[in-house]
């Protein structure tokens, strides 16, 4: 088997007393899309920054493309592209200039850039905005430009920190489509997101973290089957005591009780006729809430 693109063992990052990442084991094989999920403060961005060599680990082992990120050579750095959480584009420069300047940072020759820039503009549907100043772009266009910028050196690993946060559904759809295309081209994608539908749609594999540690990992379908059993029946209170006492996985969410079952009949058939309930297929959001809790996080 080919060497993994990212390999972390007991990876740790402390900020003073706080352990933002507390012993993370992560293996990202080439060519997959891996989603790193977790509530705010779980350690996602810190992990991505360490992988980019922008934050130094406090302990453990981390290899990207076979080497510690800070030991990567100038040309090896071209193999990694980052889409950061905050769009740090140059607001005063045009769309094309942003791409050219970034290509310059990677040391790409002018001839390569002349070919690459129009390709990227077309890929992210920005061709018409080529000459526009970044400050004139909509949020969705800025985001697309940040993604185009990350692809300038044709990286094989693309790291995306919340690529669609704050975008409207149309803009998200376009970005999803292009990310799926990147994956089809054989690129390795590592992304964080707060949108579970996004993770479910894009990711081959999910790693759920909280408090800097891994809570669960697997494909979206595996996680749903393992932790929320495929179906959710939400029963408005009062709930017959017989239901909660017979070993069905359930969770109290205030005015209702959630049951996680493989077959919905296990709950529905035992409800009295006047009971109010809602049945739906379980999704990744159920896994996420079940494992990380429903309490509001700071930040």
């Amino acid at each position: 088997m080919a060497a993994p693109v990212i390999l972390a063992r007991a990876l740790e990052k402390r900020f003073g007393e706080v352990r933002a990442v507390a012993g993370l084991d992560l293996t990202v094989p080439a060519g997959i899309c891996l989603g790193l999920l977790g509530p705010n403060g779980a350690g996602k961005t810190t992990t991505l920054r360490m992988i980019m060599g922008l934050t130094l680990p406090s302990g453990g082992r981390l290899e990207v493309l076979g080497r510690p990120p800070t030991a990567l050579s100038r040309t090896e750095r071209r193999r990694i592209g980052l889409v950061p959480q905050d769009s740090n584009l140059d607001p005063d420069l045009s769309v094309v200039q942003n791409l050219l300047v970034y290509g310059g940072y990677f040391g790409l020759p002018a001839a390569a850039l002349r070919r690459r820039v129009p390709e990227l503009l077309a890929f992210m549907q920005l061709t018409e905005k080529a000459g526009a100043r970044v400050s004139q772009l909509s949020g969705g266009m800025k985001r697309r430009l940040v993604i185009a910028r990350a692809l300038i050196a044709e990286p094989e690993l693309v790291i995306l920190d919340e690529p669609t946060t704050g975008l409207d559904p149309q803009a998200r759809l376009l970005i999803w489509r292009q990310l799926l295309q990147l994956r089809a081209q054989g690129k390795t994608l590592l992304l964080t997101t707060h949108y579970m539908d996004e993770a479910q749609r894009l990711c081959d594999r999910i790693v759920l973290i909280d408090g800097g540690r891994i809570l669960a990992q697997g494909s979206p379908a595996e996680l749903i089957a393992r932790h929320v059993h495929g179906h959710v029946v939400e029963v408005t209170k009062p709930v017959p005591p017989a239901l909660t006492g017979n070993g069905l996985a359930h969770e109290d969410v205030g005015d209702a009780m959630l049951f996680y079952v493989a077959a919905p009949g296990a709950v529905i058939d035992r409800l009295p006729p006047e009971a109010v309930y809602l049945h739906r297929p379980a999704n990744l959001e159920d896994v996420f809430l079940r494992l990380t809790g429903r309490k509001l996080r700071e930040g």
Partner: protein, 258 residues
């Protein structure tokens, strides 16, 4: 890591140049008009009442002074207020460091750009002051330009060191009040250090500005340099680049990467 590539620093320089070109009118207002206003004020206003300084006609004394002053001001401003905006508001530094550019190359690019802008201002003062008759030796003035550029790299590095510690824009008022202003008013820019009590004059030599003037003024006036003394002044200016640059890099590395 992998040494410092001038091409990478050049890519950073080019980014600054492109942004500068977009904002050219406001840039020229600060970097060209500002030093010229000072020059006119000193040459007309003070020149009327000032005697010769150090045996030099006042205009010939103040033009190299203003060239040095504007190099300092422009380079320091660029690596403090402007660089801090790129670092903390626009997050340009984060974006740059996610590429093949290393921190040393980024900061070197910043310093080279700041020094380039400083040169543009110094050249404007040189042209206007020279046409006015304040440059007895044009050959000397040309020879002074690389020295001004090197000193501006130092001023840029000193600014970066302040930026490395700054928590907000307010912090730069300390830098401008206690670092650049003394180099404007106590360092022989628009009148001779001889006018100060000896102890104050001696203290002024701890700053880089008197050393820069000791090199530039004899060149533009045509008096010529004494090699050994010139080497000494050059060494001070070099140290005023190397030490702040290394300290700024170390501090910013801790701040951004730890």
């Amino acid at each position: 890591m992998h040494g410092v590539a001038l091409t990478a620093a050049g890519a950073v320089w080019r980014r600054q140049y492109l942004v500068w070109r977009k904002l050219i009118w406001s840039s020229l207002a600060t970097n060209v008009c500002n030093p010229l206003l000072f020059l006119f004020a000193f040459a007309f206003g003070l020149g009327a009442v000032m005697a010769e300084q150090e045996g030099i006609a006042y205009l010939a004394f103040v033009v190299p002074g203003m060239m040095a002053y504007t190099s300092m001001f422009v380079a320091s401003f660029e690596t403090t207020v402007s660089a801090f905006a790129r670092y903390s508001l626009q997050r340009t530094w984060d974006a740059t460091l996610a590429t093949s550019v290393t921190l040393e190359e980024l900061l070197l690019g910043e310093a080279l750009w700041a020094a380039s802008k400083a040169m543009l201002s110094a050249l404007c003062v040189l042209l206007v002051g020279g046409l006015w008759g304040g440059i007895p030796s044009w050959a000397g003035a040309v020879a002074a330009l690389p020295i001004l550029f090197g000193a501006a790299l130092g001023f840029a590095a000193q600014g970066l060191l302040c930026t490395a510690f700054a928590r907000g824009f307010d912090n730069f008022s300390y830098f401008f009040t206690f670092w650049t202003t003394p180099m404007f008013v106590f360092s022989g820019v628009f009148f001779s250090l001889d006018r100060f009590p000896e102890s104050l004059a001696a203290a002024a030599w701890l700053l880089p500005m008197p050393h820069l003037l000791a090199l530039v003024r004899p060149l533009t006036t045509g008096a010529g340099l004494e090699p050994l003394a010139a080497a000494g002044h050059g060494l001070v200016l070099l140290l005023y680049f190397v030490i702040p640059f290394a300290a700024a890099t170390a501090r910013i590395r801790r701040r951004m990467f730890d």
